[in-house]
Amino acid sequence: MLHWLTLMAGSLASLLWAALIFTVPLTLASFALGLTVGLAAAIIRLFGPAPLAAAVRFYVWIIRGTPLLVQLFLIFYGLPSAGIVLDAFPAALIGFTLNVGAYTSEIIRAVISSVPKGQWEAAYSIGMSWTQAMRRTILPQAARTAVPPLSNSFISLVKDTSLAAAITVPELFQAAQRIVATTYEPLILYVEVALIYLALSSVLSALQVRLEQRLGRYGGFLESKS
């Protein structure tokens, strides 16, 4: 038992460091970029010209229909054969961004269309343009509805970044693998790394609750029981 604790304590610093300088920035950056892609894709699907909308559907089809690990391998190991050589971190960033973009575009499309048509009409009736109606009336209401499903995507992403280990990004999971390679204590190290992911996800779940309350403070929603 004491052996366990000393091993965990001894490796904690380097694991947290890997999380801090790779896992967290990779997650935050690819989620922010992915959301932007997702919003643009959703708007094109709903309001854009048919050929563009078809292109977006194709993109979503490809990304959702192929494994994330395969996508990462394609970008990092495959693209150099086509003359495009990327470092591990940017390759991972691109892969995760495309992935988040495809999944969140469907969420954003759904929540935008869930805002009643009458809200568009009310916005137009006081003189708003499409952009003003979207920014001031539709998106703020859609945002509240989007928090639970987008939180799912975000939390999935935190854990999915462990796949970046496979394309040589020295993030949290790879750091654990390296320690295992020298200590031969896979059980302890992988339990430890699982707990760190759990802690990260828990922080996000707590933030989700806060964000739901903040965005839904105008009322009219069913409150969750706990």
Partner: protein, 251 residues
């Protein structure tokens, strides 16, 4: 003055309005009545171009737009005409994420770029007028239907429209709540607000409308001064319809 000339509106194969011509004088209140599906709401929505007429023309004050089948009017023209109007909806359609006063300010701040303080001042004046100043900071979800509709009236009036369009403004309200809305609209009528309203509410129409237009199957069956039309309709169809409304009112 508002002038609708020969308005036709088709949805696919269905013709909802079959050449409606209508003039509304400044400062007058016109009620559109008639059976459901007769085209009242569509006609009203053609005035502020939430529905774009298939053909015909709409004139509000100095602004006029003519429509042709198959061609879309350009957006600046639509907005210019629309900016002459304000609209009150059957289901209020307040912005739920904005307080009462923010709802009223929204058009002034976002569209007309008024400074915050000035917009707030005008919004409070309007809330005062509809008797909702005490709820200025309330979220719409916490207001009764009648209160929401009064805030919605204030919101529609905020950008100084030439005409207030009301689409069944009391239909979602029980008689007691609809009274408070009728009172507010009556007050506005007395002050000379130009209004066009689609309604089933005989009390609303008889109390505040000067003119009544009876629409059925996309056509004007009869129109005239409200006192005459309600008491001495000339067409048999109008008589029967008004009789049903009166019976409803007695229950």
């Amino acid at each position: 003055m508002i002038r609708l000339s020969n308005i036709e509106k088709r949805f696919g194969d269905v013709t909802v309005l079959k050449g409606v011509t209508l003039t509304v004088a400044e400062g007058r209140v016109t009620a559109l009545i008639g059976p459901s599906g007769g085209g009242k709401s569509t006609l009203l929505r053609c005035i502020n171009l939430l529905e774009v007429p298939t053909s015909g023309s709409v004139r509000i004050g100095e602004e006029e737009l003519t429509f042709h089948p198959g061609s879309k009017p350009n957006w600046p023209d639509v907005r210019r005409l629309r900016s002459q109007t304000g609209m009150v909806f059957q289901n209020f359609q307040l912005f739920p994420h904005r307080t009462a006063v923010e709802n009223v300010m929204e058009g002034l701040v976002t569209v007309q770029k008024w400074p915050f303080g000035k917009a707030q001042e005008r919004a409070m004046t309007l809330l005062q007028k509809v008797g909702m100043a005490h709820k200025a900071d309330a979220w719409p979800a916490t207001l009764s239907g009648g209160q929401q509709q009064r805030v919605a009236i204030a919101r529609a009036l905020a950008p100084f429209p030439r005409v207030l369009l009301c689409d069944e403004p009391t239909s979602a309200l029980d008689p007691e709540l609809s009274d408070e809305v009728v009172d507010v609209l009556g007050k506005l009528a007395e002050e000379g607000t130009t209004m066009v309203m689609a309604t089933h509410d005989l009390r609303l129409a008889s109390k505040i409308a000067h003119e009544v237009v009876f629409l059925e199957s996309g056509q004007v069956v009869e129109n005239g001064a409200s006192r005459d039309l309600f008491s001495r309709p000339t067409r048999e169809r109008t008589k029967r319809f008004i009789a049903t409304l009166t019976q409803q009112g007695q229950h």
